[in-house]
Amino acid sequence: MAVRALWDSTIGKKTVMAVTGLMMVAFLFLHMLGNLKIFFGATDFNAYAAWLRTIGEPFLHFTWYLWIQRVVLAVALVLHIVSAWQLSRRDRRARPVKYAHGLRPQASFATHTMRWGGVIIAVFLIWHLLDLTVGAVNPNFVPGKPYQAVVADFQVWWINIVYIIGVVMVGLHINHGFWSAAQTLGVNRPVRDVAIRATGTTVALLITLGFLTVPIGVMTGLVH
């Protein structure tokens, strides 16, 4: 009953977006930290990637944990996108006539990017999975050797550009999204507002800069 009411209301759909968004932020933070292992060299990085498949053993079978996490994240992503899609349609219907003199004095750049930026992130994600998880679009992809695939990837100038744009869009998305999630979940209060905004911006910056160090490391020859 409550779940139905939650999904049917605008506040409920925003709550779904907030919770799923925060789950994905937590994943991205860990993903980013793991990526930094590339600076310890091929053996360390590939061993880390292999270890990810053994999490939960012997209770869980080989790669089971990874698959559980993938399914959870995929469900979170689908819920996030479906909520955003349905809410955006409602929002556009609620404002059928635009102002002749349009002004949005409050909205930051990050706020403006949420919808089209979200679409860019989705497209980037598909390419990223095909490139470095499945390897379908990466001729240098060898299972069990992600280090070599990453290094070969970032030798190509346009892959760097695509990756940097994708990661920056993710950062902007989190910058608005983190604070927005706190607002939606009712966690935000006037005394916490500055701290929550600052935390969101810090998390967004850390995730963005952390991910960017890898292509920059390859481009500068630090990682080879």
């Binding site: 209301s9 506040i11 925003k14 929002d91 609620a94 006539v97 003199h101 949005r104 608005h176």
Partner: protein
């Protein structure tokens, strides 16, 4: 002062509308924005034309009637100021000023700048009250209300229901309005018995009226002539999720 006004003219709810340009000359910087429209309307009536229809009542900033978007901002460029309290000294001689009605599907245009805001009335009638008979004003000390709670309730009770929040929101969301009413009533002792049912019912009505959702852009709070803060929306979300958890849905 001489001004050029570009005003949305629309003869009726189902008729098409457009921006029409009017020159207003020799007006005083001390005139309110509504008085300029009065001057323009006198001229239009003398010339046998239809005057510009606009809502107004108290003209002292407390009734919330004077709804119009001036240069893209509900109630014009001044912070926490209604259109009736906006004076021409906020503009410069020779300015071109765009005047438009509130734009939101739940606020259909009736004529020119007048929109139908009864969707707000329906949100209120779905829970924006307490059902116990209140009678005359009670002795203030008979129910103790801590000062911070009284302050919070009063800050939100200043909402005049003008709809500037909806007009400012890119999603045409009524969250700030609903949030103000819920914060006002749910924070006070008298509002406690219906705390959960009130928020669930008011949000359901808000959604059913076709208002958009909140994307936390903050345009509403910036446009609010009474300075209802964005934190009221976080409070509304908190009350709503609390009510759902309490199983009152």
């Amino acid at each position: 002062m001489n001004l050029t006004l570009r005003i949305w003219r629309q003869p009726g709810p189902d008729a098409g509308g457009s921006m029409v340009t009017y020159q207003v000359s020799d007006v005083s910087p001390d005139m309110s924005f509504l008085e300029v429209l009065d001057v323009l309307n006198e001229r239009l009536i003398r010339a046998g034309e239809q005057p510009v229809a606009f809502d107004h009542d108290c003209r002292e900033g407390i009734c919330g009637s004077c709804a119009m978007v001036i240069n893209g901002r509900p109630h014009g460029p001044e912070q926490t100021t209604t259109t009736c309290q906006l004076h021409l000294r906020s503009f410069r001689d020779g300015d071109v000023i765009d005047v438009e009605p509130w734009r939101a599907r739940p606020f259909p245009v009736i004529k020119d700048l007048v929109v139908d805001r009864s969707a707000f009335d329906r949100i209120i009638s779905s829970g924006g009250y307490i059902t116990s008979p209140t009678g005359s004003a009670p002795e203030a000390h008979s129910i103790l209300v801590p000062k911070p709670v009284a302050d919070l309730a009063f800050e939100n009770a200043t909402c005049i229901g003008c709809g500037a929040c909806v007009a400012a929101c890119p999603n045409g969301s009524a969250m700030l309005f609903t949030a103000a009413k819920v914060a006002h009533l749910n924070s006070l002792p008298q509002g406690q018995p219906e705390r959960e049912s009130r928020v669930l019912s008011m949000v359901a009505t808000m959604d059913a009226e076709g208002f958009g959702g909140c994307t936390n852009t903050g345009e509403c709070a910036a446009a609010c002539p009474k300075g209802i803060p964005l934190s009221s929306i976080a409070n509304l979300n908190r009350e709503y999720l609390h009510a759902l958890r309490a199983g009152r849905a």
